[in-house]
């Protein structure tokens, strides 16, 4: 019997449809946490890097990867956790950054703070707290439109 192994490129496309459980507007591929996809014999090996070491979404993410690939008929699947090199927001895709902004979350900036308010685009913004609703976000506010917003921390 001949078993067909889906092409690596196809697997990446499937993973690009798996949303982040906390910020469903971006995919796991946009987030930059899928580091490698390869076949080891008949087993598909996916290498995943956690964002924050204590992020509770990590186990859900693994579960969703398994569910998505099982749905595509992949039975032999192995998830490998890789912590070095550590995840950085530099690995967020440009498409992911644009989706965050549209969703109302200011994308990370090397300067360490949001470029502008994701709602009204004003540059008059101030920090409320260095931490936010998930480990990857901080709380900011716009002093023009007065809306609070999340900022995706740059690490």
């Amino acid at each position: 019997m001949v078993t067909t192994r889906p092409a690596i490129k196809e697997v990446w496309a499937w993973l690009a449809d798996v949303p982040d459980p906390e910020i469903p507007v971006i995919s796991l591929v946009d987030l930059g946490i899928i580091r490698d996809v390869q076949w080891q014999g008949d087993t598909l090996e996916i290498t995943v890097t956690p964002t924050y070491s204590g992020c509770p979404a990590t186990s859900i993410i693994n579960f969703e990867i398994e569910a998505a690939l099982h749905a595509k008929g992949i039975d032999n699947l192995s998830l490998k956790r890789q912590i070095a090199p550590p995840w950085t927001t530099d690995w967020l895709s440009d498409a992911g950054k644009a989706k965050l902004e549209n969703y109302g979350i200011a994308p990370p900036q090397p300067a360490g703070g949001p470029q502008h308010c994701p709602h009204c685009k004003s540059h008059a913004v101030e920090k409320i707290s260095q931490f936010g609703s998930t480990p990857c976000k901080a709380q900011w506010r716009c002093t023009d439109c007065l809306e609070p917003f999340d900022y995706f921390k740059c690490i």
Binding site: Y52, S53, G54, P86, T88, I128, G132, P135, I155
Partner: protein, 240 residues
């Protein structure tokens, strides 16, 4: 043998992570509540990496959870500083500032460890702890150089906790890096921050010891572990 050194690092982050999580729902403002819980989460995540590696290398069938939930106070190897009670927000943030200042220096050194697994955990943790130190430093400065009342409370928090600083820089062959060598980096950061906070560094460097060797923990650790461990000890097969 790296296991005792890994357990020291993991016990520090576990005990402080548990202490910080005691604030959940009680902090003086919602933003502070979230910040303390987020730091607790980072520290518990780091614990899983350190104690996970310790358990794997020990090879005696113990897991991260066994190490966290099925050891008694005398088996813990954390610094005395991290087991000290939260008391008020000022004491909690001063404890965090002193710990973060040591922790960042220790992790920076461990990033260059020759053991690739140890270096990888340090590289992951150093990013989170850089952020922790930035926040605890800012808070100590804001409260120290704040009102007369907040200044008095921060000075009293510093005086209370200073006797627990010295233990962080004691070192022996179990440590994964020379902890005594970290003192200049710690002193540089702490001296500058305390000056900006208008706080006075205590003159007496007497240091309580016995946490990282396990010889003499303070009475507070046992009480904390009783709360932390009661569920898995009462229901050993519980899962959630």
């Amino acid at each position: 043998m790296s296991v005792p050194g890994l357990i020291r690092l993991g016990d520090n982050t576990l005990v402080l992570g548990q202490r910080l999580s005691e604030w959940c729902g009680h902090a003086p403002a919602l933003e502070e509540d979230i910040a303390l819980a987020n730091m607790a989460l980072d520290l518990i995540g780091q614990t899983q990496l350190w104690l996970g590696l310790a358990a794997e290398r020990e090879g005696e069938g113990r897991s991260t959870d066994t190490l966290a939930y099925h050891r008694d106070a005398w088996d813990f190897r954390n610094l005395l500083l991290v087991e000290q009670p939260n008391r008020d927000f000022g004491v909690t943030m001063m404890r965090q500032f002193l710990f973060d200042s040591w922790h960042l220096a220790a992790l920076t050194a461990l990033c260059n460890h020759t053991d690739a697994d140890i270096s990888a955990i340090a590289q992951k943790s150093v990013k989170e702890v850089t952020y922790h130190r930035e926040r605890s430093t800012d808070t100590v400065i804001a409260l120290g150089d704040g009102t007369e009342h907040s200044h008095t409370r921060m000075q009293s928090a510093l005086d209370r906790l200073w006797p627990y600083v010295g233990e962080m820089f004691t070192t022996d062959e179990d440590d994964l890096t020379d902890m005594a060598a970290l003192r200049p980096a710690f002193d540089a950061h702490v001296t500058a921050a305390l000056a900006e906070a208008t706080l006075t560094r205590p003159g007496n460097d007497f240091a309580h010891q016995g946490g990282k060797t396990g010889a003499r923990h303070s009475e507070h650790l046992g009480h904390m572990l009783a709360t932390m461990q009661v569920l898995p000890r009462s229901y050993p097969d519980a899962s959630w």
